[in-house]
């Protein structure tokens, strides 16, 4: 059987698993709760602060939108990390992998199929839930972000980075541990990013470096900042006071950083492939 067919068969199987397992229901429930709360919040924002100028209202909407998007990206991160972990390590532990891996398939093809299935699932979630959120904001406060497609694509890329990490971890450690470590690293990078911003604000290059280095080691936070930049109102750049907000980003992503993120994913996937290839099942 050709390698490409194996990849697609396993990708399809992974999507089927995601849809049929409880994790999807949990994600849907969390998302609906978050979207409902945000709809109510934006509606109140508009009603209570009717005295805002248009500019002020947009800035408020931008900030709150980014905050809610962060919540969404967190759901996507938790969901995919806890899907990606069990999917490899759990199948190896339970024995499900034994029957599959003795078919005429390459291990790398099975891994790539899992990855592809998870990427489609994670990106699909981010796009559907993110678009829902944008529509809610538009309907309640009349704000529409400048680059919605880029923003959603970057959120999907962030999810992809995290699930690739989850997959890499799951080829070497137990399913639960891989989910926890992936989400922990995701949180740590975000905090390191905030620490870096504080460093920049106080003109401390040493502390600012923390954010830069962590953004290189795990590109989730960098991509998240790029996504925020695409969602927020372009006029915000004129207000240096907002520079320190963890939910606003003053500069767009560079092509180099995007290139690095793609390379990071390829490297992590390659490493996962090597670890999986050498592993005794």
């Amino acid at each position: 059987m050709s390698t490409a067919r194996t990849v697609f068969v396993i990708a399809g199987l992974t999507l089927q698993e995601a849809v049929r397992r409880r994790v999807l229901r949990a994600i849907v429930v969390m998302t609906v709760v978050l979207l409902t709360l945000s709809a109510w919040g934006f509606y109140r924002l508009d009603a209570e602060f009717g005295t805002f100028t248009t500019g002020e209202a947009r800035i408020a909407a931008s900030t709150v939108l980014n905050l809610v998007m962060f919540g969404l990206s967190l759901i996507a991160a938790l969901g995919t990390a806890f899907l990606a972990g069990p999917t490899m390590a759990g199948e190896i532990e339970s024995g499900i992998a034994l029957a599959v891996m003795t078919r005429p398939v390459r291990r790398a093809a099975v891994l790539l199929g899992k990855w592809l299935g998870l990427v489609v699932f994670g990106s699909g979630f981010v796009v559907v839930a993110g678009l829902g959120q944008l529509v809610i904001v538009r309907a309640t406060v009349g704000y529409w972000p400048p680059h919605p497609a880029t923003g959603l694509a970057l959120l999907a890329a962030q999810t992809t980075v995290l699930l690739t990490l989850g997959l890499l971890l799951s080829t070497v450690i137990s399913p639960m541990a891989s989910g926890i470590v992936a989400v922990g690293l995701f949180g740590a990078t975000w905090i390191a990013g905030v620490v870096g911003m504080v460093g920049e604000a106080f003109g401390n290059p040493g502390v600012a470096q923390v954010g830069t280095v962590s953004r290189m080691l795990l590109p989730t936070d960098g991509l998240w900042r790029g996504a925020m930049h695409s969602f927020q109102h372009p006029g915000l750049a004129q207000f240096p006071a907002f520079e320190d907000s963890p939910f606003l980003s003053m500069s767009p992503l560079t092509a180099t950083y995007l290139g690095w993120s793609a390379l990071w994913v390829a490297l992590a996937l390659g490493l996962a492939g090597l670890a999986f290839q050498r592993r005794d099942l």
Binding site: S2, Q16, D280, L281
Partner: protein, 332 residues
């Protein structure tokens, strides 16, 4: 130009001849492995294991717990990387995934995607094997293992026994030429065990090679053509059942045995005596006339015959004997 024109047909003929030669060769063994070794940290699991399973042959893999049977099977199927040794499956190197195109496997630890139905599990394996198996044949395969009426049920709700039956169907669905069964009856009731035995016999008649690892020696004895006994990771003994079980014996209860009668008994085979009980060791495949002739001669010599009982050394006795004495070279 001219050389080109003349060379081509010549090369074509040579290739045709080679193809013809290859086509007329007997098919490669179902399994060929040589010098397999595997260490897990400080524990040697498999130590210089070599054996062959011929096409259409049923080979039993026997041995105590921790003898390395499952490790050997996993090495053959590419699940575990050996530290040394070579594997050929159906004539292809074991490192090539295509070697497993016509191989079916029921693992000792059998688990299938709980979110799929039984029929979907079979569909998945048919697709992964790249085989063209019509729907009706897949259903027949489920029916063969007694799961026809559970085809649409999720595997998550299956009992262990049902999952093992599904595992058998998975091993058989892609028209295998080699089936590897690791403890195929561990979760089955007596009825299920009988079903598996019938299944093995039907595979044998269809010339499908089977590598069977089982604790149930009776099962192995009934269906296997040959047996490999592993102990502490090494091949302790290997051979066909008659080779391994060796001689048969004849137990007699006699009285009035004179010297000529005793000489006649000794002529039939090695004789041991315990009171009025006499035991004669016979060759593995005795002539059908040996026993009646012996009895007729004894009666003619005035011996009174109370009982004549053909003895058969069971595989279980032989296995215990081999494992206890730990003799290896002698039985190879």
């Amino acid at each position: 130009m001219t050389t080109d024109h003349t060379a081509r047909p010549a090369a074509g003929t040579a290739l045709d001849v080679a193809d013809h030669l290859l086509a007329t060769l007997p098919p490669a063994s179902a399994v060929w492995c040589s010098g397999l070794r595997k260490r897990y940290r400080r524990q040697t699991a498999v130590d210089d294991v070599s054996f062959t399973v011929a096409r259409g042959e049923v080979l039993g893999l026997l041995g105590p717990n921790g003898a390395g049977k499952t490790s050997v099977i996993k090495i053959l199927l590419g699940l575990v990387r050996p530290d040394a040794g070579e594997v050929l499956l159906l004539g292809r190197p074991g490192t090539d995934p295509q070697a497993r195109r016509r191989v079916g496997y029921l693992p000792e630890l059998f688990r299938y995607q709980p979110w799929l139905t039984a029929a979907e599990v079979l569909d998945l394996h048919v697709r992964l094997a790249g085989a063209a198996v019509p729907d009706a044949e897949r259903r027949d395969c489920l029916a063969l293992v007694g799961l026809a009426d559970r085809a649409g049920d999720r595997v998550g709700g299956f009992s262990k026994g049902m999952q093992q039956r599904l595992g058998l169907a998975v091993a058989l669905v892609a028209r295998p030429e080699l089936v590897v069964l690791d403890e195929p009856t561990s979760a089955l009731d007596p009825l299920g065990r009988a079903d598996v035995r019938d299944l093995l016999l039907s595979l044998k008649t269809r010339q499908v090679a089977v590598l069977l690892n089982s604790h149930l020696i009776g099962e192995v004895e009934r269906v296997c053509d040959r047996v490999v006994i592993l102990d502490k990771g090494r091949v302790a003994a290997a051979g066909t059942l008659p080779e391994l079980l060796g001689q048969r014996e004849l137990r007699l209860r006699l009285d009035g045995v004179g010297a000529p009668a005793e000489a006649r008994l000794a002529a039939a085979g090695r004789l041991t005596r315990d009171g009025d009980g006499y035991t004669v060791a016979l060759p593995a495949d005795p002539d059908p006339t040996t026993v009646p002739d012996l009895v007729a001669d004894l009666v003619a010599l005035g011996v009174r015959v109370h009982a004549v009982e053909p003895g058969h050394i069971s595989l279980e006795e032989r296995l215990l004997d081999i494992l206890r004495t730990g003799s290896s070279e002698e039985h190879r």
